[in-house]
Every structure is written in C-alpha cells, then in structure tokens.
C-alpha cells in the first residue's frame, strides 16, 4: 500500500477516521468478543510513521491508535497461544525476555513501544530478522499478539505517544539478580 506523505498526515490528524467497522481482513475465527469499536482502519495504521514526520514536528497523532483488545483477558490469552504457535517464543523467549530477538518486557523499543508501533513491527517485519506477518495473520490476531506483549508491562500507553517520542519516560532500575541454588 502506497500512501503519499500528505495523505498520511491528513489521515493521521483526522482522528474520526481512526476507528471503522471490523476490518475486512479480520477473520481470526476465535471466540474472543470483537471489540465494540471495531478495528483500526488499515489506512489509519498505515499513516502512523516509523520516523519523525519531516516538517511537521510533534504532530504524530496517528500514533495514538489504541489496541482494540487492550486489557481484554481473552484476547491476551489467545495472543499468548499465537505467540507460541507462530514461534515468536523461539526468538523472544517464552516470557518475552528476548534471546535471538529483542526483549519485549523492558522499556527499550528499537521501533517504538506504542501499540500501533508494535502492531506495525509485527505486520511489516523489521530488517534485522523480524519476519513480516501481515500476509500470514489477520489484523485481529496481530492485535491479540500486541495485547499479549502489552501485558508484559514494558510497552508504552497509546496516550503517551508524544512523551514516548521525546524520551519523557521514567528510567528503569535493574535490580541485582539473585543466584538461585537448587539441591
């Protein structure tokens, strides 16, 4: 999908367009109750930029797209099953602490830790080995994966999109780990 920069910007600021009825590609077939407001529109997601918008400093409202499954326990559980089934755990570890792929539980996000940014990393893939899942999984399933990843606690709230961009996030203390001994 190719959208001009101006179009993205226009879509981004038109928050009213952000939520539409359930996306046509949403066919997860799961038992999870669909979100009341439907799924974010494809073009709204596409409008969320990976980088800073040149000439439009600070105006990245498209990043405020929230996960329609945010805090939904059913979706989180199904996201966890997908996380194992799609071999996400093989790279990011069963508890999300990372291995071949980055840690998903800490507060450092190479490609952004907002829900829509995590969504896009899964959908599009990333250059250092992250496969693109947009062709294999419907948006509903990707949002469930995002919900599961959000449940780790390291992601950034959609409301905090401006702070997230500028680093206004609290620091993190890494406590000394305890050497456990077993008999």
């Amino acid at each position: 999908m190719k959208i001009s920069l101006q179009t993205r910007f226009a879509v981004g600021i038109t928050l009213g367009l952000l939520f539409t009825d359930a996306c046509s590609r949403s066919e997860g077939g799961s038992a999870t109750t669909p979100p009341a407001r439907g799924f974010p529109a494809v073009n709204a997601i596409a409008a969320a930029p990976l980088g800073q918008v040149a000439g439009a400093s600070g105006n990245v409202a498209a990043l405020s797209i929230a996960n329609p499954f945010e805090g939904n326990p059913q979706a989180i559980e199904q996201g966890k099953q997908l996380y194992i089934k799609m071999n996400c755990a093989g790279c990011h570890a069963y508890n999300g602490k990372g291995n071949m792929g980055p840690d998903l539980t800490d507060t450092y996000w190479r490609y952004g830790g907002l829900p829509v940014e995590i969504y896009k990393s899964i959908e599009e893939g990333r250059p250092q080995g992250m496969p693109s899942w947009g062709a294999a999984l419907p948006p509903e399933d990707i949002w469930k994966l995002v919900a599961y990843i959000e449940s780790f606690g390291g992601s950034v709230s959609a409301k905090d999109y401006e702070h997230a961009r500028q680093g206004d996030q609290p620091g993190e203390q890494i406590a000394p780990e305890v050497l456990e001994q077993r008999p």
């Binding site: 755990a89 093989g90 790279c91 840690d103 780990e177 305890v178 050497l179 001994q181």
Partner: protein, 654 residues
C-alpha cells in the same frame, strides 16, 4: 601409531630425542629463546628419558614401542612428566611465534611451544596494549598473528581488522567491511557471533553470518572471492571458523534452532568454488555415505539411515548443522567434526534416532565421503549438539597405543574414540549429569534415564545438563608436556517444558521452554584438566560464573582461560594452581592465543566481550547472577611487566 608397539632401547630413545631436539631450534626466534631452550634441554634431558622409559614400560608392555613424536620430545626435555603417555602431531607446523588458524594445528591442540612466559613469571603479566572494535555482541574468535600482523574479526557485521605489530601503538593497517545482510543478525540463535578466521597462503578466509564465505588478501584487505553458501532467509547462518587443509577450506552452517539442513562443504582455496557438500541428514548420497563407510556400531549400519530414522520428510528440516571445529589427521587423510542437535528440539515430534544429528563424522578429506560416524546422543531430547571439538592424540589405552580422538560432548560425557574406526574407548561424565544412568560400551549407546525424558506440555524439573550442555563450543587445549587436556566446562541444570512446534520458514523450529540454574555445588563454571587415557578428571578450578572461553596451553606449563564475569587466568598446567588473574572490561568467551612480537617478546592475547550463549535468556535464568558485566569488546594483549614496543619507545624518549 596404530598397531603393536615394539621394544625400544635406551640408545634408540636417546637418538630419537636428539633428532627431535634439533628440530626445536628453528622454532626459536631469537638468541634469547635459543639460550632458554638449550639450557632447559641440558638440565631436563635425564629426567625425560626416565619418564619416557617409564611410559614405555608401564603402558606398552613388551610388544609395544614408546612413542616419541616431534614436540613430545621437546615437552619432555623441559622437565616434568607426561602423565598420560599421550603423543601429538603438530602438523602443519606453523611458525612457533605465529598463530595461523583458530586451533593452531590440524590436531586442534591449541598448544604453543613458546615458553618465555612460564609458571615462574606468569604472575608478572601486565597489559601491554589493547584494541577495541566497538561491537557489542559476543566475541568468540581468536586473533591470528601472521608476518607481524594481527588479524581480528568482529561479530556481525563481521568486520576484519589488520593491526600492524611493527609499529608502536599497533595501529590499524587496513579494515575489511564485508557488508552482510542485516537480516542475519536476527537469525542467529545464540548471538551474532563469529568464531574466527583461517590464514592460508596470503589469504584470510572466514564466514559471514549471512551465509557467505569470503577470502581477503592478507596484505591489502581486498576481497579475493566470495561464495554464497546458503539463504539467510531460511534461518540458516554461518558462525564457524573455516578450517584449511592444503588447497581445500571446510565450512559449515548454523541454524539448528531454525530447522536448517545441516552440511559441511569443501571449497577450493584459490577460487572459492564449492568442491563437494555433505549433508547431515537425508539419503546416503546426500550425506556422502558410500561403500567405504565402516561405522563401528550396528545402529549406524544400513541404507539411508539419515531418512529412515526420522518420521516421513522431517529429516529435511532436521538440522545437524556444522557450526564449530574441524580437525584433520594427515596420515589417515580424514577430517573430523560434529553435527548439531536435531530440529525441532521437541523429541516427541520426531521419533527415531534422528541420524546423523549429534554425531561425530570422519570423512575423507579429499572426497568428503564418510568413513565412519558415531552418534553421541541418539534421538537427542535436550539440545545436546555433538559439535564440540575433536582433539587428535595418540594414547596408550589398556596397554596399546591407539590413534584417538578426545571429545567433550554437550551431553557431559568425555569420549576417547579410536579415530581410525569410531570405536568408543572411554566414555565418562566430566560434568554433573542425570539424563543418563550409564553408558553401554558394547552398543556404544548411553543409557537414558526415562525420568528425564521431556514430553510436550509437561514441566520436567531438574534435568542436567541443560541445553548448553556440560560444555559448549568453547574449545579445549592439550599439552604434550603433561599429556592432559584442559577444558572450560559448566555446572548447570534446567527445568524444561516442551511445546509442540510447526515449521514456519524464517522462524525458530524450537519448542524448548527452559529455565537454567546451577547444578549441585552452586558454581556455574569450572576449569578442568582431564586424563583422556583413563577418562578421569585430574584437577579442576571451580568458578562462580560460567566458564565459556577457549583454552590456551603453552610450553611454559601455564594454561589460560577466562570467565563469563571477566577474569582472565593463568593456571599451572600440572597442579591447577591459579598463578595469575586479571579482571577484564567485559566477560570472556574468546579464545586465548600467544605469539612473538617483532621484539621477540612473548605476548598473550584475549578478547573480552560477553555475549553468545553465555548470556542468552540470562534474565530468566540464574546463569547471570548479580554483578555480571556489560558487553562490549576490548582485545587485551599481555606481556611480562607490560613491556611492549610502545613501552620501549616511551623509555627511549624520556
């Protein structure tokens, strides 16, 4: 040295020693060295002869001959006893002051004849100079030294540096940037590491993480050839150091956690052209098994076992990757190497022995045809790769000298194997293990403890060792002076839950959910000396943190290793006493080497820079306790007193 020994007279011994002693002299680089070598010879000769006669008498019996080979004589002349009767072949006989390949010699001994640094002065080792490549991933490669130039390869993006040792400050002479695909970084199971470079005839040959083998001009840093060996998009990568014999360079792949199809290939050194490729699973044709394949044990005899020991079609993503070391016997013209764990790592999905994974292969070095194979862990359930190095020694076993191969497997067994036939001569645990209740010498199979067999969705507690094994890829060293083998090993266990997995190209084909913790004793690491003739541990140094570095053995009777928390140590090769320790900037998973500088000083080199499997999943495991260092590389070079050419020039300008 295969076959019966015959009695040797003292006079014969003496003349042989004299011959061998003569051969030592060209190894010495300056007058001082020669003086030391000769003076040691004067004082050391008599005890040596006694030692060798004793070895001959005690271990050989009347139908055998004591074996004196090249540097064994040298070893003996400098005093002290060879405790096992092991003899070595140090072909190809690279210059003593240089380091041309990761293992230094075909036999993979990682032994240096340099002896300026010895048990008496090692405590005076100080930093002479350092180099940093700015990379954060784990540093597992040994630097090479050829023609007063040091060659250092970084982890991904696999940059190669040439450092000029003739100039003060050891400046960069040239830099080679191979530009591998960034995708490779996320496909390597255990950090984006590189295990080093091989030097041959003016070329530096190494593997890129994105499945290319490159040859670089050692003088200029220009690329000479580049051969694409695989497709990184499938999850296949390359991390091993190439191994060169004559005009052939042997390379293999990584990706045992990604469902890669394991192989080893021979390339032409001059052109990079692929000469043959032998897969680790599949039909006999694909595995290069023909009429001269003579495995020792029954379970390895039969047609197309690389297919029939798998559920239909699963061999194709069954791994058996070849990601560490190759050794070579010039007399037998055989190469030796091991293959990785099977994929997926969930055993219930692949009933059968899963040949030829977790297997040691002996192959004709010219044709690649398999001569014998021995599977260390049949139907591996715990990720016990069989890839660890095979050190080639000749050993007196039950009164007969045998051409042997010594192998510390991930499964925690140390094997002494007849390298002509694949017969297991000794199999004994060297690290804590509970997955097996013993070893059946008749069948060559370990006896599996059914309580430690994982099944999907069942949490299995306290399985030892864990996936990392009792020892991983970090290579051991051997000394002809002591006859012992020295290795960095682990003391670890795991809780394990298997999860069934499907093969999705580009993603891991894994399924093991693991939590690791220390085995009884509480220490995570250990450095040990091993007697490969008896299959017994001689001494060990317990380490709080993991020991995942290579080992260097030297003629000064000091062996060197490093710890995951950054301690670099020099240990008495005979007693195991730690004689010297230095804390480095990061943890050590590199391989120590030694060389002579242009100033004829002996230097010891080691890269620090923790990473690799020593920290994977560190936060969820107990293998990274409090105080663990951060990553980031510094290469340290040590000398007695920290003396160096730079120090000399500082003195002269004062």
């Amino acid at each position: 040295m295969n076959g019966p020994c015959r009695a040797t007279t003292r006079a014969q011994m003496k003349s042989r020693l004299a011959v061998e002693v003569d051969q030592i002299e060209p190894l010495s680089r300056n007058a001082g060295d020669e003086f030391w070598a000769l003076s040691k010879l004067q004082f050391g000769r008599s005890p040596v002869l006694l030692t060798w006669l004793m070895v001959g008498i005690c271990s050989c019996g009347k139908s055998q001959k004591p074996v004196v080979m090249e540097l064994t004589a040298h070893a003996a002349t400098t005093g002290g006893a060879n405790l096992t009767g092991a003899t070595f072949n140090f072909a190809p006989g690279d210059p003593a002051g240089e380091w041309h390949s990761q293992a230094r010699d075909y036999a993979n001994t990682r032994y240096s004849t340099l002896d300026q640094i010895d048990t008496g002065n090692v405590s005076k080792l100080r930093v002479a100079w350092t180099f940093s490549d700015g990379m954060e991933a784990g540093h597992e490669a040994a630097p090479l030294v050829v023609n007063n130039t040091m060659y250092v390869v970084t982890p991904f993006p696999d940059v190669l540096y040439a450092l000029d040792l003739t100039k003060t400050g050891e400046p960069i002479k040239w830099t080679f940037k191979p530009n591998p695909s960034p995708m490779a970084k996320g496909k390597a199971c255990c950090d984006s590491v590189n295990r080093g470079v091989a030097y041959v005839e003016g070329k530096l040959i190494y593997n890129l993480l994105d499945d290319h083998t490159v040859a670089v001009d050692a003088k200029t840093g220009n690329e000479i050839w580049r051969t694409k060996m695989g497709n990184v998009e499938t999850g296949e990568t390359m991390t091993m150091a190439p191994f060169v014999v004559g005009n052939k360079v042997y390379v293999g792949n990584s990706g045992g956690e990604m469902g890669a199809w394991g192989w080893i290939a021979a390339l032409d050194v001059a052109s990079g052209k692929e000469l043959w490729r032998a897969y680790s699973t599949g039909s006999d044709q694909q595995v290069r098994i023909g009429s001269d394949f003579k495995p020792f044990y029954e379970q390895f005899k039969g047609k197309d076992l690389g297919v029939s020991t798998w559920p239909a079609g699963m061999w194709r993503h069954g791994a058996g990757t070849v990601w560490t070391w190759v050794s070579y016997d010039p007399q037998l013209n055989l190469i030796y190497y091991g293959t990785s764990n099977p994929s997926p790592r969930v055993p219930d999905q692949r009933p059968g022995d899963n040949l030829w994974t977790s297997t040691i292969f002996a192959r004709d070095a010219t044709t690649g045809m398999a001569r014998w194979a021995y599977q260390t862990t049949p139907h591996d359930r715990w990720d016990y790769d069989g890839v660890n190095e095979n050190i080639l020694l000749d050993l007196p076993i039950d009164g007969t000298m045998r051409k042997a191969l010594v192998h510390f497997d991930r499964n925690a067994y140390a094997y002494t194997i007849d390298r002509t036939s694949g017969e297991v001569l000794r199999a004994a645990p060297f690290a804590y293990q509970n997955w097996s209740s013993g070893f059946d010498m008749k069948s060559g199979r370990p006896i599996v403890n059914p309580d430690k067999e994982p099944h999907p969705d069942v949490k299995l507690l306290n399985v030892c060792p864990p996936d990392l094994g009792g020892k991983d890829w970090e290579p051991a060293a051997a000394s002809p002076r002591t006859g012992l083998v020295y290795a960095s090993i682990f003391n670890l266990c795991m809780d394990l839950t298997d999860n069934k997995v499907g093969y999705i190209p580009s993603t891991p084909y894994d399924g093991m959910n693991i939590r690791r913790f220390p085995a009884p004793g509480g220490n995570l690491g250990e450095f040990m000396a091993w007697n490969p003739a008896t299959g017994k541990k001689v001494w060990s140094v317990k380490e709080t943190y993991m020991t995942m570095s290579g080992v260097l053995a030297t003629a000064g009777d000091v062996v060197f290793y490093g710890t995951a928390d950054g301690w670099f140590r020099g240990v008495d090769a005979r007693s195991g006493k730690v004689l010297w320790s230095q804390k480095l900037g990061s943890g050590i998973i590199g391989q120590p080497t030694t060389f002579l500088g242009p100033d004829h000083r002996q230097y010891i080199a080691i890269s620090s820079g923790i990473g690799g499997a020593a920290t994977i999943r560190a936060d969820i495991d107990a293998v990274k306790p409090a105080g663990f260092p951060a990553g980031g590389n510094t290469l340290y070079v040590f000398s007695i007193g920290g003396d160096s050419m730079t120090a000399d020039s500082n003195q002269s300008t004062r």
